[in-house]
Symmetry: C2
Subunit: 446 residues, 2 copies
Amino acid sequence: MRVNEIFLHTLRKGLKPGHLMTDPADCWLYSYDNSRHHALPEAVVFARETREVQHIVQCCHDFEVPLVARGRGTGTPGGAVPVQGGVVLSLEKMDKTLEINFPDRYIKAEAGVLNQTIQNIAEKSGFFFVPDPGSSAYCTIGGNIGYNAGGPHAVKYGATREHVLGLTAVTGTGEIIHTGTYTTKGAVGYDLTRLLIGSEGTLAIITEAILKLTPLSDFKNTVQITYRDLASAMQAVIKIMSQPYLPSALEFLDESCLKLIQYSHSDAACMLLIDIDDERAKKNIIEASQQVGLIEIHFAENTAEMRRLWAARKALSPALRSLSSKKINEDVVVPVSRVPELLEGLKKLSEKYKIPIVNFGHIGNGNIHVNLLTDSADQCLDEIFNLVISLRGTLSGEHGIGIEKMPFIPRVIDPPTLALMKQIKKVFDPKSILNPGKIFPDEDKL
Amino acid sequence: MRVNEIFLHTLRKGLKPGHLMTDPADCWLYSYDNSRHHALPEAVVFARETREVQHIVQCCHDFEVPLVARGRGTGTPGGAVPVQGGVVLSLEKMDKTLEINFPDRYIKAEAGVLNQTIQNIAEKSGFFFVPDPGSSAYCTIGGNIGYNAGGPHAVKYGATREHVLGLTAVTGTGEIIHTGTYTTKGAVGYDLTRLLIGSEGTLAIITEAILKLTPLSDFKNTVQITYRDLASAMQAVIKIMSQPYLPSALEFLDESCLKLIQYSHSDAACMLLIDIDDERAKKNIIEASQQVGLIEIHFAENTAEMRRLWAARKALSPALRSLSSKKINEDVVVPVSRVPELLEGLKKLSEKYKIPIVNFGHIGNGNIHVNLLTDSADQCLDEIFNLVISLRGTLSGEHGIGIEKMPFIPRVIDPPTLALMKQIKKVFDPKSILNPGKIFPDEDKL
């Protein structure tokens, strides 16, 4: 069954007036995300609390209507695009902070609260919430959790998976579940919290989360290091990652990126942008950086300069649009020691397919944002993913699968493991109404 | 069906000679663990590789025979006790280290490798594996993963859940699955790694693991702080946990513990034993410790003294046996700010039920080892768990549920969430052969 008048009537009954839209012009705004895809939903609804989400799921379950939950649509692999139509549920009005508890180091918040809102609250008391994707000013914590978002600080502190204590969620049958604890430790039953983290809205709709806070260090510095050649930079990265005091960010920018940010040294082949929040790291990192191709180590002189250096890095992704109207943005990850082989291989593929490839990203984790400046590169992408897999890497470090990387899933997850995931999907969502057509390439066979 | 000659014949075919034992005298050695429970298995088998584990599971699946995997039987809640008979699979012969990769900070090892073996390998290159339960010299990493083991370092670095990258495991239908990645980041498909961590052998039998390594700090110190009253110690703990530089261990010992370790100050009500692996923490911790009831702050003068201080803490659990031949050992956890209420409540319950209660443990996580010096305390335990739940805590921080805490599970996990867990169990193990009679109080209804 699809969206019809009886369905809409039933749906409307449990919602606040104005919280159901069916006009295509209104719905259009919820048809796309930060991928290149769009698909028009038949209805868009807003919820203000878990009970309303439950009502919406129950309606969609009863009428077998696809339901796609979304935050602010900042995801890149198309996870929030309602490819099978149906209803889009925007959680943007669930934006309440429910509890702030600094002694126990957590904030409980609704899924629609912005990442930046949490950062602002935390910072005032000397804490931060570790996940800080490029879109942090605008993305929601529900989205961060749904896609296991990372960001530069993951190199030292881990991704979203390591920073959520518990969740409230509504399964595909409309059951409200509570996972996890208010404590940092817990060994009671199965870890459904982590199962939902990164499940891309296909198992349950996350409505509330208990977010773990991390104290801010009172030391902070940013250092920019440039090299004449890639090999020297890579030696430095591996050495930095082998000593005990991790940088709080370790980013890589290739030659094309340096042109984009108008870096002045013409013989620079690449740059490392490093944040240090532990003074002990400073000496070791400087030492590790001393490689033959080193051009310059530059420490930011003050907070304003730190911000300026990071602003350039953060502007890279939008700036790439100036080089090419179309780009394919991958976020593959390989073990750190294999990054040189990855970059070497990417260079060859760029030449072979005559597609400019620009690379930057979280090199300390081996998580490289590979940008193909083209709108179509099927065969090249195919080879990139095979290269990544041959280096013991995986398809995505922090963006997720969505629709973009769906066809490649069977290359990294073997058939019995993938079959289990599909069966778990069926347990949570037996009618496959939650974000259908995502993650699994053959979902019609579910 | 049960263990019979045809079953044993089939089982034997896939095993090395001598790797199947059925003599009750031999089986007896695999009938118990570190809980007070035992139950005789009908057969004990040993596997040397994942394929053999697969053969064993397939046999038990085909004949519907219960199968309990075990490491070295150091668990306290009875998780390794074959309460429904059947086969015990000991993984002790799967003790190979498969890959040591320091640049990428992981060790891949078979499930039967001892925690201490990993620590020894890691330490030589300046790393450690964070989980360090009291039994680390003897427990296996398979057991650590099965129960999400913690230990003193969890306060700063997290428990097992945060330190495993990927797993190889055999499900209850005999399928070999591979979860996770070789990388520290990954956002591809459902997080089956974390789902298996803490699942107590009820979903799949873990055969290999990729363990994340953490660099050892080159600074280390141990400090012992004593207080005249509990309130002062608690104020110090909360203050220590509110400043940015966490201690790498923050342990609590109550008055009874001080008598056991023969601490000399007669007016001491409790002690904090703190490890610091970041010099910046030192000043803040000393400052936070300055409470009215402070008796003494004593820093270890050298490595030998550090070891001596920790040896006393580690000896506590066995030393308790000298006070009472029987004890019930719980490992409840509450948010740190609620620990004073927990300890106050425990004191009242101790008086009400006239049961001596000795408390020590990982207070920085709110994870207290509550020792009831008696062999029967049903009503008192009942009230303890209700107290813990009223303080937003949970039943276990690091020991797990096993059979001991099974009846209390419905108090901390609501019916829809528990129902989902049971359905997940059915996906992995449709015939309920893997460690039956654990975690879920009404498993016959599965």
